[in-house]
C-alpha cells in the first residue's frame, strides 16, 4: 500500500503548532500517516491528543505548520481559500459531531443543496438525493425540518449529505458524541455498510469504544503522535480496548 494513487490520504512530517500567548501548543508532532483507498480508519486517543486537528488538516479546514498533506494525490499546502473550499466541496464528505443541518431546509433540501453548490443539474440532483436518502433509509423523513427529527435521524441526514456527492473520503469527527448507544450502533453499521458496499474511504475520530469496533484499522494518538497502529479483523465484535 504505497504510491500516491493508492493512498486517499498521505501526511508527511506533519506538525501543527497553535501559537498561544502562554506557550505554543504542539497538537501534532512530525506525524506520518497514510490511508489506503477504501479503508475505514478510526483515530482513537484521549481528549486533546490531536484527533480533530488531524482531521481538520486532512479536510482542508486548517493548515499544517510543517509537513505536507495530500488528499487524493493533491497537496493541500499552498491552495488558497477558494481552492480549498472547492476541494472540500468536491472531494470530502463531512460528518460533524453536532449534526449541523440548516434549520430552514427540509431533510431532503439539506442533502440536495450540496449538489446545488456543485452545480449539478436538477434532474440528476433529484435522483442522487433520492438514492442517498434511500441508502440511509430516511426517505420517509425527507420533508421534515431538522427540528422535527431525532438526533440519530439528523445524523443520518448529515451522512446522506456527506455521501450524496460521492466523495473520495468521508471525515467524521466524533459522529456519535451526541447519540445514545442504540443510535450509535445503527450509525456504525451504516458507516460500515457504506464502506463495504461502496468502498467509501472513511476516517473517523472518536473515543467511543463502540465506534472503534467497526473500523478496519485503528490508530491511537497521544500528545500529537501515533503511538499504535493496528489492523482489525473485519467484523470484530468485541474489543477490550477502553
Amino acid at each position: 500500500m504505497s504510491g500516491e494513487e493508492q493512498s486517499v490520504v498521505r501526511c508527511v512530517g506533519v506538525s501543527r503548532i497553535y501559537e498561544q500567548a502562554a506557550a505554543p501548543v504542539r497538537a501534532l508532532r512530525n506525524l506520518d500517516f497514510e490511508m489506503a483507498r477504501g479503508d475505514f480508519v478510526s483515530l482513537v486517543g484521549p481528549s486533546g491528543s490531536g484527533k480533530s486537528t488531524l482531521l481538520n488538516l486532512i479536510g482542508g479546514l486548517d493548515q499544517a505548520t510543517e509537513g505536507e498533506v495530500f488528499v487524493d494525490g493533491v497537496a493541500l499546502t499552498g491552495l488558497n481559500q477558494t481552492r480549498l473550499a472547492d476541494m472540500r466541496l468536491h472531494k470530502i464528505g463531512f460528518v460533524f459531531q453536532s449534526y449541523n443541518l440548516i434549520p430552514v431546509l427540509s431533510a431532503r433540501e439539506n442533502v440536495e443543496f450540496i449538489l446545488q453548490l456543485q452545480g449539478v443539474r436538477s434532474a440528476v440532483r433529484t435522483q442522487r438525493t433520492s438514492e442517498a436518502l434511500a441508502a440511509l433509509a430516511i426517505e420517509a423523513l425527507a420533508h421534515r425540518r431538522p427540528a422535527e427529527l431525532s438526533g440519530g435521524q439528523q445524523q443520518r441526514v448529515a451522512i446522506a449529505r456527506a455521501i450524496v456527492t460521492n466523495p473520495v473520503l468521508l471525515l467524521a469527527d466524533e459522529p456519535s458524541a451526541n447519540l445514545d448507544s442504540a443510535a450509535t450502533g445503527e450509525l456504525l453499521k451504516l458507516l460500515r455498510r457504506l464502506n463495504d458496499e461502496r468502498g467509501l474511504s472513511i476516517l473517523t475520530a472518536t473515543h467511543d469504544p463502540l465506534v472503534m469496533r467497526y473500523a478496519k484499522r485503528r490508530m491511537r494518538l497521544r500528545d500529537g503522535a501515533i503511538v499504535k497502529d493496528s489492523a482489525l479483523s473485519p467484523g470484530t465484535a468485541t474489543d477490550p480496548m477502553p
Binding site: 481538520n56 449541523n100 431546509l105
Partner: protein, 403 residues
C-alpha cells in the same frame, strides 16, 4: 452558488425570524411611505409655485425695458413692432400678452391704496391667471375699454363694488401726474391670493391714451414646453436688443429659490429617514447573521465559498429592502391618493399664499422620483449589508464551527 439556492436560503431566513424582520419591515414601510408622500407633497407645492409664478403676470419669459424692475414707470417702456414675432420659430408660444403696467394710487370714499395699474388686451390675457379667473360683474370688452377690474380683496378694503367709481392717480409719460375716474366693470377672485390686492386692470389702449404713449412696458410669453425656454430667450435677446429678456426664475427669484430648497428638502428627508433605517437594518442583519455564524461556518466547511456567504447576506438584506420598498411605495401612493383632494391649508392660507402656494395642496407623484427613491433605498440596503457580511466572512470556518 446558484442564485436559486441563495434566494431560497435568504427568503427562509427572513421568515425564520418573523417578529424581528416584521418590525424591521414595518419601519422600512413607514419610512419609505413617508418619503414617497413627503416627496409627493413637496412636488405638489413646487408645481403650484411654478404654476402661480407663471400664471400671474409673469409667464415663462418677459421682455422689459432696462431698469423697469428697479424703478417701474411709463418712462421705461418700449414700442412693440407689429412683426416682432417673426424673430421666433413658429409653434413655440402658447400665448403672449403686451401690457402697460405702472404704479398707481386708487382712491375710494373709504380709502386709498397703492397698486399696479395694468393696461391689458383682454383676449391676450388667456396666458395669465386673468384667463380663467372667477369674476363678479363683467370682464373688459376690448383694449379700448376704459373701465377697470379690481381684485375682490382690494374692493373689500376700499369698500366699493361693481358699477361704482374709483379715482386713480398715476404719472404720465411727460412726468406729470394724471388723475381720472374709472368705473368698476368687475371684481376678480384670485383665490384670495396677494394678486387681488396688487393689480387693477384696464384696457391697454385706454391707459395708453391717458398716459400719452403708444408704448408698452412688458411683453410676456407662455411656452408650450418650458424646456424650450433657453432657445426662446436667445431669439428674443437678439431681436429685442437693448431690452431685458428674463425668465420666470429670474423674475421670481423667491419662487425659484423655493424650488431648489424643496428639492433639497426631499433629499434631506430621504437621507434622514433612510440613514436611520440603514443603521437599523445593519443591526438587524448583524444580529441575524451572528446567530447563524455556526451555520454559515458549516456551509463554508462543506465548500461554500466566502463570496457566496457575502452574496447570501447581501441578498437577504436586499430582499428585505425590496419587500419594504415595494410595500412602502404602495402605502405612500395610497396615502397620496387618499389626499388626492388635497390638504386644505386655508387655516394657514394667509401665510402660505404669500409664498406663492395655493390654499389646497395636492400631492404629485412623479415616476422618476419614486424610481429614484426605490433605487436609492436598494443601494442603501446593499450598503448596510456589506459590513455584516464582511464581519461574518472574516470568521474562519473552523472558528465559526467551534462557536
Amino acid at each position: 452558488m446558484p442564485l436559486k439556492l441563495l434566494l431560497q436560503l435568504s427568503g427562509r431566513n427572513i421568515l425564520r425570524h418573523r417578529r424581528r424582520n416584521g418590525m424591521m419591515l414595518a419601519a422600512l414601510v413607514v419610512a419609505v411611505a413617508s418619503v414617497v408622500l413627503m416627496n409627493g407633497l413637496i412636488r405638489g407645492m413646487q408645481r403650484d409655485m411654478a404654476d402661480m409664478a407663471v400664471d400671474n403676470l409673469v409667464g415663462h419669459v418677459k421682455v422689459l425695458a432696462p431698469g423697469y424692475r428697479d424703478d417701474p414707470g411709463v418712462q421705461r417702456s418700449f414700442a412693440l413692432a407689429a412683426d416682432w414675432r417673426s424673430a421666433l420659430a413658429p409653434g413655440l408660444l402658447e400665448g403672449w400678452a403686451a401690457r402697460l403696467q405702472v404704479p398707481a394710487v386708487v382712491i375710494s370714499e373709504r380709502g386709498t391704496r397703492g397698486v399696479r395699474l395694468v393696461g391689458v388686451h383682454p383676449v391676450r390675457e388667456a396666458v395669465s391667471f386673468l384667463g380663467d379667473v372667477e369674476m363678479a360683474g363683467e370682464f373688459l370688452q376690448d383694449a379700448g375699454d376704459g373701465r377697470i377690474l379690481v381684485g375682490r380683496a382690494l374692493a373689500e378694503q376700499l369698500e366699493t363694488a361693481v358699477g361704482r367709481r374709483l379715482v386713480i392717480i398715476t404719472e404720465g409719460v411727460d412726468g406729470r401726474s394724471r388723475e381720472a375716474g374709472f368705473r368698476i366693470a368687475g371684481l376678480y377672485d384670485a383665490d384670495g391670493t396677494a394678486l387681488e390686492r396688487a393689480f387693477v386692470f384696464t384696457g391697454v389702449e385706454a391707459l395708453q391714451k391717458m398716459l400719452g404713449t403708444e408704448a408698452v412696458t412688458e411683453l410676456s410669453m407662455r411656452l408650450h414646453e418650458e424646456s424650450q425656454l433657453p432657445q426662446v430667450k436667445a431669439a428674443l435677446a437678439a431681436s429685442f436688443a437693448g431690452l431685458d429678456v428674463l425668465d420666470w426664475r429670474e423674475l421670481q427669484p423667491q419662487a425659484a429659490a423655493m424650488f431648489v430648497y424643496a428639492d433639497a428638502a426631499i433629499f434631506i428627508w430621504f437621507l434622514v429617514m433612510m440613514g436611520a433605517l440603514a443603521f437599523g437594518l445593519m443591526n438587524t442583519l448583524i444580529t441575524s447573521i451572528m446567530e447563524r455564524v455556526r451555520e454559515l461556518g458549516m456551509l463554508r466547511a462543506l465548500g461554500l465559498r466566502g463570496r457566496s456567504v457575502v452574496a447570501q447576506v447581501v441578498l437577504e438584506s436586499s430582499l428585505l429592502m425590496l419587500i419594504g420598498v415595494a410595500a412602502g411605495v404602495v402605502l405612500g401612493w395610497l396615502l397620496a391618493q387618499a389626499l388626492g383632494e388635497g390638504i386644505d391649508l386655508s387655516l394657514w392660507a394667509e401665510g402660505v399664499e404669500s409664498f406663492g402656494m395655493r390654499a389646497v395642496l395636492r400631492p404629485i407623484l412623479l415616476v422618476e422620483d419614486v424610481v429614484l427613491i426605490a433605487a436609492l433605498s436598494l443601494v442603501l440596503g446593499v450598503a448596510a449589508s456589506l459590513y455584516p457580511a464582511w464581519r461574518v466572512v472574516r470568521i474562519k470556518p473552523l472558528e465559526a464551527l467551534g462557536r
